[in-house]
């Protein structure tokens, strides 16, 4: 595994283009677009203020930069660098901005969720959608980009509106039987809409595209309910993670629960592989010291080495005692994601924060557990193969695949970092979507004082401009290529 040199970054803003050719990152008010393969700067745009949000259009032709403080959105074209577009929301303010799936419309949500403005880049037309609901996941587009579902709130009742994205015509409008709708999500096939209530009530409603209620599911009452929801890429399963530390899988035929994944802190089944991250401080032998580092400061100084050990069952995972009298207690399934082939489901129980559970969906049982030394901050599946990247806020990125686990030290300490600062912290991981398999570098961003970006390249990727630190060459893992 190879790593690029470290790039500067602000606001954790960096995104691969949907076609996987470019990488956009922000440094204060500058937007830098690089070629993924060469990592050379292709374009550099300067915005009016510090960028707070960027988004690629679906066709990878435009990039949207939102400056919420100013109520401004600037759009840049990759093909025509001189082309510019500025949208000013004025006194209404701006809290969210996103592309419509066709890449020609921008949806801006004004402050206080007064309305959503749909700006077109093709025509002068501007559409307004009133009463959008202020919730976690209020808008969702179908995979094919044909429809948008929008959560609304009128007269203390929740509604869902389905729009046709091509002309923003209202297709369906129906009220949902929820107390306080929190999220909506289309199934990947675009025919079923999952609607879930706020955490105060466990309720999942499933609506057909034409607004019919297909099913309603509630596991229990009087307790904190749903925390996270995910569709399997095959639209076959709906995984619902809740505050009771369980994931319930609903099927797409009867919409009944087919299984329940508990997340016990003690694992007794000998069939389950438990990977435990173990840290080993390197022995400061003579061989280490006598050999001067090839490039002082350039290479990472691994303070300690970490590797995975297979723990023998029974294993008891470290649990966090949640503070129950505070809002948003750290319990329940906060993160869950299906692998792109729908064979695996990765989950994190928030009161066992350092563990990632990987479930086998074919056999509907636990497959593996990874216990990290520090709490898991994020994980993401490789879009090409069942491979999970995890970061824990440390200086390593962890990879899991059915074959095994791997911990990779990311070269964080560049020559820019002042000596003596702590290790860098990886805050998120992004996989690049590409048409071809086998080339899916991950990005990891580091949230240390000078926020920097590090692009992780596969061995063999051309990085003419970026001589890799020689110390890293030995780190490439042939098992993963």
């Amino acid at each position: 595994m190879n790593f690029s040199e470290v790039f500067k970054l602000s606001g954790l803003l960096c995104k691969f283009s949907p076609d996987g050719k470019y990488l956009a990152s922000c440094v204060q008010y500058r937007l830098v677009v690089r070629d993924v393969n060469t990592l050379q700067i292709v374009q550099l745009y300067t915005c009016l203020d510090q960028i707070q949000h960027i988004e690629w259009s679906a066709d990878s032709l435009f990039i949207l930069c939102a400056m919420y403080k100013r109520g401004l959105v600037q759009v840049w074209s990759l093909e025509q660098p001189e082309w510019h577009c500025k949208i000013d929301e004025g006194s209404a303010g701006l809290v969210a901005s996103c592309w419509s799936p066709d890449g020609r419309h921008i949806l801006n949500t004004t402050e206080f969720h007064l309305r959503i403005t749909v700006w077109s880049l093709c025509t002068k037309s501007v559409s307004y959608i009133k009463y959008p609901k202020a919730c976690l996941q209020g808008t969702t587009f179908t995979r094919d980009g044909r429809y948008m579902a929008l959560a609304e709130r009128r007269d203390c009742k929740d509604y869902v509106s389905i729009f046709v994205c091509s002309d923003w015509q209202l297709l369906r409008h129906f009220d949902t039987d929820t107390q306080d709708l929190t999220g909506i999500e289309w199934a990947p096939n675009g025919c079923v809409l999952a609607v879930w209530d706020s955490c105060l009530e466990y309720k999942v409603l499933l609506y057909s595209l034409d607004g019919r209620l297909l099913s309603a599911y509630s596991a229990y009452e009087w307790s904190l309910g749903i925390k996270s929801v995910a569709w399997s890429p095959s639209s076959q399963f709906l995984a619902v993670g809740s505050y009771d530390g369980k994931v319930r899988i609903l099927n797409h035929v009867t919409w009944k629960m087919i299984t329940e994944f508990e997340h016990p802190a003690a694992i007794n089944n000998p069939k389950i592989v438990v990977y435990k991250e173990a840290e080993k401080s390197p022995q400061l032998g003579l061989g280490c010291l006598s050999f001067p580092p090839p490039r002082a400061g350039a290479g990472p100084l691994p303070t300690s080495e970490s590797k995975y050990e297979i723990a023998s069952v029974p294993v008891s995972l470290q649990t966090l005692k949640p503070v129950t009298d505070r809002a948003n207690p750290k319990i329940g399934i906060g993160m869950l994601a299906f692998s792109p082939d729908s064979y695996f489901l990765a989950t994190r129980n928030d009161n066992v924060p350092s563990a990632v559970w990987v479930w086998d969906i074919q056999k509907l049982r636990l497959f593996a557990v990874l216990e990290q030394l520090s709490p898991v901050r994020a994980f993401q599946w490789d879009p090409q193969q069942p491979r999970l990247a995890i970061c824990t806020g440390g200086s390593r990125v962890y990879l899991w695949s059915p074959a095994g686990c791997l911990s990779v030290q990311v070269p964080g300490e560049g020559e820019h970092s002042p000596a003596g600062t702590g290790t860098s912290a990886l805050l998120f991981v992004v996989w690049r979507h590409t048409g071809r398999t086998g080339e899916a570098p991950a990005i990891s961003s580091q949230g240390n004082c000078p926020q920097r970006l590090c692009v992780n390249l596969k061995a063999g990727a051309q990085c003419t401009g970026d001589p890799l630190p020689s110390a890293l060459q030995g780190r490439s893992s042939p098992s993963l290529t």
Binding site: V164, C191, S208
Partner: protein
């Protein structure tokens, strides 16, 4: 108790008797002399009595006393002491003979009485001890009763406490339940309250929003604008269309199309799945029919007729269903038929399998015996043979040992002769060594033989196994080609084939067991032999045994020495103590401990100065 009785001192008892006598005398009011006399006559002679008698008769009142006695005796039925008077005037004479007779009789009577008294007393004692025993028993039982009562009370107390606890717990549970109920009610009320509040707040919020909307949106905000260089084309390259009713309808159409597509896709999938399942079902059915049809004659002949009819149904069904076209019919028409027939067949198959299982277990038990006994017999014979050999070997060893021991015994008798015959022994040793090596060779031969035996046995087992496998495969083939066989044949074959697998396995296991057993026995045998040999080995050479005995002797002597020494010491000690006592008394009447220390001190002294003491 009896022992105790025998133990009682007769003298003591007599004393007690006299005492009791006295008490009785004192107790009984001596109203009449007569009664006293009667009593006195019954008691044994004692000083008191003597003295009494002496007081009774004096020189003066002989006549009177005689007459009195006569009277008394006559009243008791004794003959009169006086001779029969011939005349009234003549004075009656004392008949000595009668007196003597009376005396004798009295004495006899006395003895008898004594005996009786003794008996009564022993009886009394017995009864008394019985009484004591019973009393002790009684007291013990009473105690027991008391303790058990106490225990019972304790248990009752505990029970009460537990019940109390239970009640408390019940109460707690109830309270908790109430609490839960209350909390649930509170939650519910809070929820409604919250919702209500939320609604209120939201209304306010909505009002504010509305107001804000009016303020912000209605005012012509110049700032809200899009500044764009030039409009770009649509992604699909088409031009945007106007919104009309037509587009609405088109959108609807499209939506339904999408939904329909999805449903169609799913239906297709389901159909495919269905087809797959149907295929599996069909295959299963076919296999079942083929499996069941050849043997269906058998149940018809042998067992109940119900299965037979079912099978005939099945046959018809099979005839119908075997047509491929049936499978393409929609499920509804065929489903019932299909499921019914499958169910029937399944039932038949199940019963058949159960029957087979039974038969297998039966035949298994039988066949097990007659097939395997032969081989087992073989093995047993072999083992017997081997054991015989071992026995012979042992005997030989024993005789050798005996001989050696005899020699040794003679050698041991007197050391001087042994010393003298040492040279001879060396010679003997050499000879024995030779013998030993010879014997070892023999043993080796034996072992070789045994190994060959076991090898042969293993080979036999392997061959058997191979044969069994061959047979099984042959049977399987036959089973597979069963349909071509005539029914009787197939029946037989089936019978076998059904359990052939298991029986084969069992045979194998038996074999393996035997194989296992054999080496085991062998391995058992050899160490025994070896141990025997090793046991006998030290016996045959003279030296070691001799040494042993020597050491034993020496041990004995040492023990003796050890035993003796304390004995020796004891008197010393006593003496020492004596002296010490004297000494200490003489020197200082110190504390006990000091005295003891002095004792230990003086003990050595005394040991040294033993000779000085007398």
């Amino acid at each position: 108790m009896g022992d105790w009785m025998t133990v009682t001192d007769p003298g003591l008892s007599s004393e007690s008797k006299t005492i009791s006598q006295h008490t009785s005398e004192t107790k009984m009011s001596p109203s009449s002399l007569y009664s006293q006399q009667v009593l006195c006559s019954s008691i044994p002679l004692s000083k008191n009595v003597h003295s009494f008698f002496s007081a009774f008769c004096t020189e003066d009142n002989i006549e009177q006393s005689i007459s009195y006695l006569d009277q008394e005796l006559t009243t008791f039925g004794f003959p009169s002491l006086y001779e029969e008077s011939k005349g009234k005037e003549t004075k009656r004479e004392l008949n000595i003979v009668a007196v003597l007779n009376c005396m004798n009789e009295l004495l006899v009577l006395q003895r008898k009485n004594l005996l009786a008294q003794e008996n009564v007393e022993t009886q009394n004692l017995k009864l008394g001890s019985d009484m004591d025993h019973l009393q002790s028993c009684y007291s013990k039982l009473k105690e027991q009763l008391e303790t058990s009562r106490r225990e019972m009370i304790g248990l009752q107390e505990r029970d009460r406490q537990l019940q109390c606890k239970n009640r408390n717990l019940h109460q707690l549970l109830k309270n908790e339940k109430d609490e839960v109920q209350k909390l649930q009610n509170i939650i519910a009320s809070r929820a409604t309250q919250y919702n209500h509040d939320m609604k209120r707040k939201e209304r306010e919020y909505n009002k504010l929003k509305e107001r804000l909307h009016q303020l912000v949106m209605n005012k012509k905000d110049k700032k809200i604008a899009m500044d764009i260089l030039n409009y770009v084309g649509r992604a699909d390259g088409k031009r945007g269309s106007w919104r009309t009713g037509k587009t609405e309808a088109r959108n609807e159409d499209e939506m339904y199309k999408i939904l329909l597509n999805d449903y169609e896709y799913r239906q297709k999938q389901i159909l495919m799945e269905n087809a797959e399942l149907k295929k599996v079902l069909q295959q299963m059915k076919k296999e079942m029919i083929s499996l069941l049809s050849p043997q269906k004659k058998k149940p018809r002949e042998r067992v109940d007729d119900s299965t037979g009819t079912v099978i005939s149904d099945v046959e018809e069904d099979a005839g119908e269903l075997s047509r491929e076209s049936m499978w393409d019919l929609s499920c509804e028409t065929v489903r019932e038929q299909l499921t019914n027939s499958i169910r029937k067949q399944w039932r038949i198959l199940k019963s058949h399998v159960e029957k087979l299982d039974n038969q297998v277990s039966k035949v298994h038990l039988e066949g097990f015996n007659d097939e395997d006994v032969i081989s087992r017999q073989d093995h047993e014979q072999e083992t017997e043979k081997l054991e015989l050999e071992i026995q012979q070997c042992k005997e030989m060893i024993k005789t050798q040992q005996q001989l050696l021991q005899q020699q040794l015994a003679t050698a041991c008798d007197d050391d001087t002769t042994s010393l003298l015959r040492d040279c001879y022994l060396l010679e003997e040793k050499e000879r024995l060594k030779e013998e030993w090596s010879l014997f070892k060779e023999q043993k080796k031969n034996f072992e070789r033989e045994r190994r060959s035996f076991t090898e042969a046995a293993i080979r036999l087992g392997l061959e058997r196994k191979a044969f069994e496998e061959e047979r099984a495969s042959w049977l399987k083939q036959q089973f597979l080609n069963m349909t071509t066989f005539d029914h009787q044949n197939s029946e037989n074959v089936k019978l076998f084939s059904a359990f052939s697998g298991s029986s084969d396995q069992d045979n194998l296991t038996v074999h393996s067991r035997q194989l296992q057993k054999k080496p085991h026995s062998m391995s058992n045998g050899s160490p025994v032999c070896m141990s025997k040999l090793t046991k006998s080995l030290p016996a045959s050479p003279s030296t070691s045994d001799f040494c042993q005995t020597r050491s034993c002797v020496s041990e004995h002597s040492s023990i003796n020495v050890l035993n003796i020494t304390p004995e020796d010491i004891k008197p010393n000690q006593v003496g020492g103590e004596c002296t010490n006592q004297k000494w200490s008394v003489a020197s200082r009447p110190g504390s006990q401990e000091g005295c003891y220390s002095g004792c230990s001190l003086t003990y050595t002294n005394s040991h040294v100065e033993k000779d000085d003491l007398p």
